[in-house]
Subunit: 140 residues, 4 copies
């Protein structure tokens, strides 16, 4: 399980990247069940993206896939075209949601919304990179 | 904040344009939070467009973008393809919603629905042009 | 049918009453089909009441009853207890919605929200009274 | 407007109270428009309360009332019985949501969910008390 403290640290890492690229973001961290643990909307970020960030985290965990990869499958002609009509509108099919893994298994997810796709993705990756780095064995 | 009187004046300016192009419209003005301040449905306008006009105003403020520009990003293959599944179905991704700005910051939005995209857009622009003109410094 | 001009006059009459009792209100007028013709949120009125005013007007026309009367039927033990679960959540069961009648037939409705029940009701009644008075034959 | 830093401080004050009473909580802070600024779910708190906390904050701002007071009006026979059917299910009618005021005007709201009514309320009050205290004039 991801603790609230861990979620806060993941968010802090993502926020630092958002500051670096100069784009205020909504950042959400969800647990194993896809349910929200913590969320922040940085000053100046769109309020319409609150819901999107939370749902990107849900989606990434619901299907254990980054929403960036899901996007390709959900396009017209793709295997999952129309998947966004499922789950009561909680499935987001554009970049910014990534599963959070521990010992090779998804235990949660991060969702980011507030910029263009590549921006959301890089901020989400900053969060997952932080979480992954914490797992590395300490070198002797 | 936008007052009711201001919202009425914005709507009047938009109505005048709708009369000029001969297409009855639904016109809505929302506040900073995307919440409706005032709405009119001109005689003969579609009742199915009531909801659309109100939601175009919500969308324009929620993401500080015209729904005309959002439309391009929300197409198949675009960065925001699938965004209309968010926010409980309140995100409209076709022309007619524009933020209303004061001193360079969005303080509300107008949403127009009742005709084709270019018609909705021109009526919404008449509303925003009126609001922008009010801000001009008085010439000496 | 109720025209936009008529809806505006009904709203003006209701607004005057709201000013008189000193409580800012949301005021909505719906057509024969229960669909919104016009809405205003007076400065300082709750944004949570936008939806309620619009739905009170819908409800009053949907069942040709004042929501004040419907409230009695919708209480626990009443004939219509639970009716608010119908119509996708658009049925409001507290005072402030009244049908608008012409020649004895309902042609629309007014919905008011922003104060306590008696306040909403008196403002809605001011709107219906205005509409009824317009129909009186001119005295010789 | 409430900044993210302010929201975090409000949440920290509320969390401290939740720790004191030994009940893990969901705590949400919303802006003027009722939109989420930040949320935390304390370790062990119900995930079903995520949505409730966020909606209590929305409700408190939407009607500028504590959900504790709204609860009384929303009971069977009360002026607002049935109000929870409005606003697409976002109206929560039990204790835990309180407006956040600055210079006497509501600028946001806090919503708390995770315990019984009195617990949620006391944690929300800890948040609002912190925010109010920040406004006190500095003693000479």
């Amino acid at each position: 399980m991801i603790t609230l403290n861990e979620a806060r640290s993941i968010i802090a890492a993502a926020e630092a990247m958002a500051d670096e690229i100069g784009q205020p973001m909504n950042i959400a961290v969800a647990d194993w069940g896809g349910h929200l643990i913590a969320h922040v909307r940085m000053d100046g970020a769109w309020f319409g993206s609150v819901d999107i960030a939370i749902k990107k985290a849900f989606t990434a965990r619901a299907f254990d896939i980054s929403t960036c990869d899901l996007a390709k499958l959900a396009r017209d002609g793709g295997d999952f075209f129309g998947i966004d009509a499922s789950n009561q509108g909680r499935v987001m099919i554009f970049a910014g949601g990534i599963p959070l893994c521990r010992e090779g298994r998804a235990v949660g997810a991060i969702g980011v919304s507030g910029g263009l796709g590549a921006q959301d993705q890089s901020v989400a990756e900053a969060g997952t990179a932080y979480f992954a780095a914490r797992e590395l064995p300490v070198a002797a």
